[in-house]
């Protein structure tokens, strides 16, 4: 009975901890998603100066355009979408869509020009990767060592869940010897003022009503 109560408390504490961690995770992911939505793409009214894109050079790198040339709102929306996947090389950890720097602005224009020519998202990303390397991709490719980034968290989650299940099951099946060997103390508190608190803690920890062990109650 006593042991059961102890395990019950421990299980509840672990469950509360898991729920807490999950709520924080959901909150952080939600905030990140909102920040992504709030970030603006190539702002209206920006002069898109500069020379025309060297189409032949791009075709040599990523092949002829495989999509349909975009324009208007569809072009603006897709430019924003692709810019979110590119790292601004002169900024600290922000995407080309999020950064107000001139480098990011130039890169957004480049993305827009390429999409307007009919290059697909994959081709645009491949073009930037050919110049900057994989460093420029904010979503690492699922290949080689990068696979760790994709499947690592899942493996760790399963591993953690497995350990937790085994831990909780063992706790239920096999009582810990230490608990049996060492009976809980019933000594009174040193300070009279603290006595009711000590009894309360003992009640919570051991499950004795009023903090008094059953033997003492009987005698």
């Amino acid at each position: 009975m006593k042991r059961g109560t102890l395990h019950h408390f421990r299980r509840r504490r672990i469950l509360r901890l898991i729920l807490g961690v999950l709520s924080i995770l959901v909150l952080v992911l939600g905030l990140a998603a909102r920040a992504d939505e709030a970030a603006g793409a190539c702002a209206e009214g920006e002069a898109c100066a500069g020379q025309p894109i060297d189409r032949d050079f791009v075709v040599r790198l990523v092949g002829p355009p495989q999509g349909t040339p975009l324009e208007g709102e569809a072009l603006a929306a897709k430019t924003h979408e692709v810019s979110l996947l590119l790292r601004c090389p002169t900024c600290q950890g922000s995407s080309v869509a999020d950064s107000p720097s001139s480098t990011a602005l130039n890169m957004r224009r480049e993305v827009e020009d390429l999409l307007a020519l009919g290059f697909t998202e994959d081709q645009v990303l491949a073009y930037f990767e050919a110049a900057y390397g994989q460093f420029v991709l904010l979503r690492p490719k699922a290949e080689g060592l990068n696979l760790l980034v994709w499947i690592g968290p899942g493996i760790l989650l399963l591993l953690g869940a497995g350990i937790l299940v085994v831990y909780l099951r063992r706790g239920e099946e096999e009582p810990e010897a230490e608990e049996v060997a060492a009976p809980p103390t019933t000594a009174p508190a040193d300070d009279d003022d603290l006595e009711p608190w000590v009894l309360r803690v003992r009640e919570l920890a051991y499950g004795w009503p009023g903090g008094v062990p059953p033997e003492e109650e009987r005698s």
């Binding site: 090389p89 130039n106 224009r109 480049e110 050919a130 110049a131 900057y132 390397g133 810990e176």
Partner: protein, 182 residues
Amino acid sequence: MKSARKLHRGILVGGLLVVLPLLFLFAKSFGNDPRALRSPLVGRQAPPFSLRTYDEGKPVSLAALRGKPVVVNFWATWCEPCKREHGVLTRAAQRYGDLVQFLGIVYEDEPERIAAFLQRYGSGYPALLDVGGKTAIAYGVGGIPETFFIGADGTVVSKFTGPISAEELEARIAQLLVAEAP
């Protein structure tokens, strides 16, 4: 008690299996400059460009220089490290000008400022305007100064990020000239 110890040992071993490879990766990468990544352009054909000089608007294209090694330096007047390396590049251009073509591509800047800069610090090779930064993007320029060494056949031989020293520049030019020799 035995099983609990076994379990604790299991958790410890599992944790170490996860943490040790991570520590190894951190130790390996710590201190590396993330910008000093090897450029994917090295060993490939240099992206072509046809730009105009900042002052006279004279067109200069990389294709027209085929047959001669080229040193392309991306710089700007607002970039402090560029000031430090400007003298190194100008002196090298005077010394190796017959063998190697030096080109400066000015990044995000204005002709008046470029003129004032070159008047103060000297000029030894063409300064080209990259309006809209398309050439800088094609070369994967992240933070200036960056210098590309292009062989006579148009292949990128190497890239240097940051202000280049006289010794480093000489070594890379020597590498270019060796690559050119039959």
